[in-house]
Subunit: 387 residues, 2 copies
Amino acid sequence: MPASPIRKLVPYAEAAKQKGIKVYHLNIGQPDIETPKLVLDAVRNSSFKVLEYSHSAGNESYRRKLVSYYKSVGIDINYNQIIITTGGSEAILFGFMACLDTGDEVIIPEPFYANYNGFAVAAGVNVVPVTSTIENGFALPAMEEFEKKITSKTKAIVICNPNNPTGYLYTEPEMLALKEIVIKHNLYLFSDEAYREFCYEGKQISAMHLTGVDEHVVIMDTISKRYSACGGRIGAFVTKNKNLLDAVMKFAQARLSPPSFAQIAGEAAIDLPSNYFDTTKAEYKSRRDLIVKRLNAMNGVFCPNPGGAFYAIAKLPIDDADVFCQWLLEDFNYNNQTVMLAPATGFYSTEGLGKQEVRLAYVLNKDNINKAMDCLEKALEVYPRRK
Amino acid sequence: MPASPIRKLVPYAEAAKQKGIKVYHLNIGQPDIETPKLVLDAVRNSSFKVLEYSHSAGNESYRRKLVSYYKSVGIDINYNQIIITTGGSEAILFGFMACLDTGDEVIIPEPFYANYNGFAVAAGVNVVPVTSTIENGFALPAMEEFEKKITSKTKAIVICNPNNPTGYLYTEPEMLALKEIVIKHNLYLFSDEAYREFCYEGKQISAMHLTGVDEHVVIMDTISKRYSACGGRIGAFVTKNKNLLDAVMKFAQARLSPPSFAQIAGEAAIDLPSNYFDTTKAEYKSRRDLIVKRLNAMNGVFCPNPGGAFYAIAKLPIDDADVFCQWLLEDFNYNNQTVMLAPATGFYSTEGLGKQEVRLAYVLNKDNINKAMDCLEKALEVYPRRK
């Protein structure tokens, strides 16, 4: 079981803080955006007397309301095609456990959300990467690259769209190419759409916008980023494949139910005004513009412009991102401040890739992003193992 | 992946309700006891602005407070020996995943909490049962029975104390025997102590009361039953084994964090007055006395007196508990009422056992328990496949 690249440096950050150093956290996708008051108030104003188990698939009232949310983003499903999960994490774990046997393989474009590895280990399945590169902004690798990796054990392709950790937003031709390949090889297409609303260049094409692949497509969803509600631990497993829903329900029943409080929050969120995302999106876009500009202005640094989500991967003039990120916390400060980044090595499955890359989550306000970038700029100037 | 015996009949219960039949739920350990107001109010009065991820091991403030709770039940640990989990369910899953490799074996006295099966399947490990019997009240099987089942693949013994589904409370000699065997064969002892406070005949001996087995013992804990807070999905993985804590933390990091709202609830619960459990325990004891008396008064029914938890297993004069429990929902009603029970077959791992047994959770008030027992009594009189 690999350690989380996002969290494994936490002890070093804690030690830095104990020395009185201010740490800017760009390592984790924990937004600073306030959770909408309407969402928190729904929980605070709840009046039940017993904090009961919910239905294993989640409260029916919540699932019914989610149908209208999905309709608003062009996805036509009914409430019993949704299983509420404990975070998007559990939706991914359920997908792996229900669709793959021990030793089966899942193909994922790398760099990818590192926790997919953890869930693969937990489910006993093997991740087979196809490599996307920073030079072309982490576009989807050519279908031939996927086909080279497909074996009799391959059961699914996983994408995250818009992508964590790259911020890449898949194009329509790329989504159609994926459709073709999952039909041709009879695979599942797991689409992690946690960042659906956060697209700055064009619109997201959901895997559920594809036609003729109802039996293949699963959406892994979550309220965490959408409503800045990461601590709620509420996600969803969405598919039109009846047999798969039945199989996942057994895992859902074994863990009894998703958290009750945050289901109330998630249900209330559907009532947010339709312009709710405009403000958040505008804020993230201006942060993206700032961080990408600051990074590319640094000597020897390259950062492609991400089309969505709130992550960017940058190539730095360093020898080893793991060493560098730890050094930032252990041995560096600028005016008693430093920055915490996620080494990109943990997002690649292929050994040796990402050694010069880091992931930055632009989840701080622009003032703090500027201060964090000041730290990074100074750090790169004095880093003893600069390359 | 087996279906949950507790929940698999839910569609039949829903159908019965749609026909206007009142269903008494004795199938699931969802207490009707109110969640303490202090606990719910802590969440309702919370004033944070962002529903953030917590630490992967849970909020430090909560873990520090739990130390005092454990001290109050005679368990001496420190806060970094506790990992907060998403329900007791996740504590069990983490234990299986961190301690056992694919194909390894865990020995569990049967009948046992059926979801252990689900977690074993999820973790790719095999459950090896040793059979306890209703005739002697489901006492711990003799150690020779355990030793017959121990192989090179055996890594752990799981107990639930007081027991779900039998209500059995393990004695001191039984706990000492378990200690001896886990030392002799170098095994983990996983002790599910969800029902610690609910003992009606003597006191619970925690696995952590045993001396000299710090490296072997893990407690799987939860706030679900203790504070009638099942929907919170907050549990704990507790051990003094440092290597094991490190291994479990990787799984904890992969799923990011346990639910934030209910951690607030769990933390507040530690402030309940020390006599809080007296009332709840007295209520459960009087329900136990009632249900056991009613059951044993029925023709052909036998129910041993459970020492703890809020479950009882009864032997009924029927051919097949699965058929009978479904029949109760599909084809029977008494004054437009019926009762939902859990067939005990799902709690046995050995094929064919438990066919005449059902589990009853006495989580309804005495008035409703009486009505449910009226239904069961009438049902047994008219059941066409009575034996």
